[in-house]
Amino acid sequence: QKSPNVRLGVLKYGTVNWEVDVIKHHKLDKKYGFTLDVLSLGSKNASAVALQSDAVDIILTDWLWVNRQRANDKDITLFPTSIATGGLYVANDSPAKDVRDLANKRVGIAGGEVDKNWLLLQAYAKAQYGFDIKNETKPSFMSPVLLNVLMLRGELDAGINFWHYGARLKAKGHRLLVTVPEILHALHIENDVPLLGWAFKKPWAEQHANSIKGFLQASLAAKQILYSSDEEWTRIRGLTKAEDDEVFTRLQTEYRRGLLHRFGLQELTATKDIFAVLAQHGGHSLVGNATSLDEHTFYAFDQRLLSWNPVVEDESAR
């Protein structure tokens, strides 16, 4: 009998392609009883459009987006897969010791006004130093690529970028001025908080319980492989478009570090705390009509699925 299809929308250049490639290569989809159809898309917005217009069943996105859609009566839910990492990058030789030294300096932010790390950073600066980083520095928002270019050229004094861009910055001699764990710590949140995950429509998941279960298992299996096997990384090196070994190793470690290992009650509480912080700083433009974390934002799943490997020591969590 023919196995059901699962249509996955991914960014053509996104890191999720690595995982997809592993699934395909090891025929994990067949193993878990479904067929994976991949639709390459041009931008993050395109994947949102694709999910809304039923062109795909699953996309990779963040839980805030899902929560906000839920507030707009769209029954979407998310299975978290990765945690928030990274932080604020500065050049290695930058004199800045903490965020206060960035006063009147140019700070680039890749994710726009409502970038999670940027909002967390604002909360952190205020809580830790009473420093209004939004108004006392010169933040400018731009596309992630441009941010990297300008950082490397020294036209920006600090920057917040997505992790795989951050990895490149690190490889090119930039350091983290503040890390996300530091920020969370300062905000009294001691657990990992999820960032991205597989989002899908809940009715679809209910109708295709086997498919979604198979898909999640396959995805976790692929992550397990990427987590433990260096040979696998060598195989997919072409996909990472790493320009040199340094970047490649960086990407590898950062990827492993960013994987979510547990999502229990503690993490959920941490997420709720984070939501409160973000809602306070991001305001309406971030959370929209969602005033609280919807209980169905996260897909109810078997917790044992996630407990598959030990947490790596986060080098940046000093």
């Binding site: 993050k44 917005n45 949102a48 809304q52 805030l64 987006w65 906000r68 859609q69 707009n72 009566d73 769209k74 726009g112 006004e113 409502v114 933040p139 400018s140 928002f141 731009m142 596309s143 441009l146 270019v149 300008l150 036209e155 305001g283 309406h284 433009s285 971030l286 929209g288």
Partner: protein, 284 residues
């Protein structure tokens, strides 16, 4: 207009007595010639009709992807009062205005030259087509990379994108200019500038109007992309934020706000120009 009305709210009380005098003075002069007020009414009626139609369709469709007119209106209100819509509109409007003026000026000059001198046209035709077809993304990107992430880079990107389309249009107009009338100018030895402004340009007006109208909209579309890629304010920046969260209501709110501004600009600038130009034409 809503957007702009908000600004002087605080001083409204202070001038409340002078206001009606001012209005009654002004209105018969500028606003309420009969034709103008009829036109204004018809315009408002159209806008209302579009709004009502929209609302009805939204009720019928009843999908979260199709926000109703009232939802959008209340979103506009929200953004005006709580968000920085005014700031963003103002930033975008500024960019649009500056790049519109620059690109129309340069475009008309180049277009006239290319249309008038067929030798020059032959030389630069290929370059024009190349310039016309370089994607906005590429120009914007290169401008930002080469000039840095500054306002002038943004303006330059828009202008570079827009000039070729103006040139193409004006060139076509300059090609069909009536040589007989130019002969009159030559015989009666009008100075080059008089010839240009009094004989040449009036024949280009239809082309200039067409390129100004479509140009304004094109420019604002490019400005959106420019703001998306490297500015920290403006409608494009706001739209992108909305888009990230798939906030269709918010997107439509910004769109409507900007379009209503454009409608005002149309009514205040293009329409009087139109009338001026139509004088003496076959329409009268």
């Amino acid at each position: 207009m809503k957007a702009l009305d908000d600004i002087p709210k605080h001083s409204a009380n202070q001038t409340v007595i002078n206001w009606p005098v001012f209005v009654t003075r002004l209105s018969p002069m500028v606003f309420l010639t009969q034709a103008t007020s009829r036109w204004l009414l018809s315009r408002i009626a159209t806008v209302l009709a579009v709004g009502v139609l929209w609302q009805v369709v939204a009720w019928l469709v009843a999908s979260p992807d199709f926000p109703s007119c009232t939802a959008v209106l209340s979103s506009i209100h929200f953004h005006l009062t709580q968000g920085d819509m005014l700031l963003n509109l103002w930033a975008t409007l500024n960019r649009v205005a500056i790049s519109f003026v620059i690109s129309m000026l340069i475009g008309v000059v180049i277009g006239v030259l290319m249309g008038s001198y067929s030798q020059l046209n032959k030389l630069t035709d290929t370059a024009l087509i190349i310039a016309l077809n370089v994607p906005a993304l590429v120009t914007i990107l290169l401008c930002y990379i080469w000039f840095g992430l500054v306002e002038s880079a943004a303006i330059a990107a828009v202008v570079l994108n827009k000039i070729p389309t103006v040139v193409v249009m004006i060139r076509e107009g300059a090609r069909v200019v009536d040589r007989d009338l130019l002969a009159v100018a030559k015989i009666y030895r009008l100075s080059p500038s008089r010839t240009f402004f009094k004989v040449f340009l009036p024949q280009l007006y239809p082309f200039i109007m067409a390129s100004a109208r479509s140009g304004l909209s094109l420019i604002w579309k490019i400005v959106l992309v420019v703001e998306l890629l490297g500015r920290s304010d403006g409608v494009g920046f706001a739209l992108n934020t909305q888009f990230q969260f798939f906030d269709i209501t918010g997107i439509l709110a910004y769109t409507c706000a900007f379009i209503s501004i454009i409608l005002c600009v149309e009514g205040a600038i293009f329409r009087p120009l139109d009338k001026l130009i139509a004088r003496g034409s076959a329409h009268g």
